[in-house]
C-alpha cells in the first residue's frame, strides 16, 4: 500500500493506494494520527485507489474516525470502490461512514 497525504486549508486528504491489510493498516492509522496531532482534524480518506480492505483496515479507519471526532473534527470517506463498498455493507460500517463522491465534496456544506 502506498500512502499519500495532502493538506488543504479546510481539510486533509489521505489516499491509500493498493491493499489495506493487517500488515499495513497501522501505517494508515499513524498517518491520520499525525495529521490530528498537527491540528488537521478534518480528514478525508480518498479510497479511489483501494481495491481491497480487510478487517484490520476497517479497524484502523474506525480508530481514526474516533480519534478525529475526539479532537473535534471528523473523518469522511470518498470515492469508494465496489469491493470496499461491499465490505462496508457486510460489516454495517456504511451506517457510520457515509460515502462522498469526491474528496472535494466530503466537507462541502459540512
Amino acid at each position: 500500500m502506498n500512502l499519500t497525504v495532502q493538506t488543504h486549508p479546510e481539510y486533509a486528504v489521505v489516499t491509500p493506494a493498493g491493499r489495506i491489510t493487517a500488515t499495513v493498516a497501522p501505517r494508515l492509522r499513524q498517518a491520520v494520527d499525525a495529521l490530528i496531532d498537527d491540528g488537521a482534524v478534518r480528514v478525508v480518506l480518498d479510497l479511489s485507489e483501494t481495491q481491497f480492505i480487510d478487517s484490520s483496515g476497517l479497524g484502523a479507519i474506525i480508530g481514526a474516525l474516533k480519534a478525529a471526532r475526539i479532537a473535534g473534527g471528523d473523518l469522511r470517506i470518498a470515492a469508494v470502490t465496489d469491493p470496499v463498498r461491499r465490505v462496508l455493507k457486510l460489516t454495517n460500517l456504511d451506517r457510520v461512514l457515509r460515502e462522498h463522491e469526491t474528496p472535494e465534496s466530503a466537507f462541502r456544506g459540512e
Binding site: 480487510d54 478487517s55 484490520s56 469491493p83 454495517n92
Partner: protein, 145 residues
C-alpha cells in the same frame, strides 16, 4: 504450482507469511481475471474469497505469535477450480478456540473482532477443527463462483 493447478506456501506463520499469502492471492486473481468468460459475478466471488483468506491467514498468524516464542509452521494451499475457489490452512500451533459457533459481527464502533465474522459471512463453507486432539488448526474455505 501443484499438479492440480493449486498454489502452495509453507513456512513460519509470521508477517512475512501474511504478505506472501497476499502476493499469491494477487497472482491467482490476475490469472483468473484474465480467463475467457470471466464475469462480474466471478469478480465479486473472487474478491470476497480473497477477503476470507486474508482474514483466516491473519487469524493463523495472530494465534501463532502467542506460542512462547516457538515458531509455528503453516501449510497453505489455494486453488481456483471450475465453479469453486478453495483454500486450506494447516498449522502446528495449539488449537485455538473459540470455534466458529456463535461468531457474530461486533458493534460498528469496535476496532477489532470482525475477521472471523466476515470470513463466515462471505464463504459458502468455513471449517475449523484441530489437526489432532487439542493440537494444530485445520481450516477449509470454499466459495462457489
Amino acid at each position: 504450482m501443484e499438479s492440480d493447478g493449486s498454489r502452495r506456501l509453507r513456512g513460519v506463520a509470521d508477517e512475512r507469511f501474511l504478505e506472501q499469502v497476499h502476493h499469491l492471492l494477487a497472482d491467482i486473481g490476475e490469472e483468473v481475471r484474465g480467463a475467457p468468460g470471466y464475469t462480474a459475478e466471478d469478480d465479486e466471488a473472487l474478491g470476497l474469497f480473497e477477503l476470507a483468506v486474508a482474514e483466516i491467514a491473519a487469524n493463523v498468524v495472530e494465534h501463532a505469535e502467542t506460542r512462547n516464542g516457538v515458531p509455528v509452521h503453516v501449510d497453505f494451499t489455494v486453488r481456483a477450480a471450475d465453479g469453486l475457489f478453495e483454500a486450506i490452512f494447516t498449522d502446528d500451533a495449539i488449537f485455538a478456540p473459540p470455534t466458529l459457533d456463535g461468531v457474530h459481527m461486533p458493534d460498528v464502533e469496535a476496532e477489532s473482532g470482525r475477521g472471523l465474522a466476515l470470513a463466515a459471512a462471505v464463504l459458502d463453507e468455513l471449517v475449523h477443527h484441530p489437526v489432532e486432539a487439542g493440537a494444530g488448526n485445520h481450516w477449509e474455505l470454499r466459495r462457489r463462483r
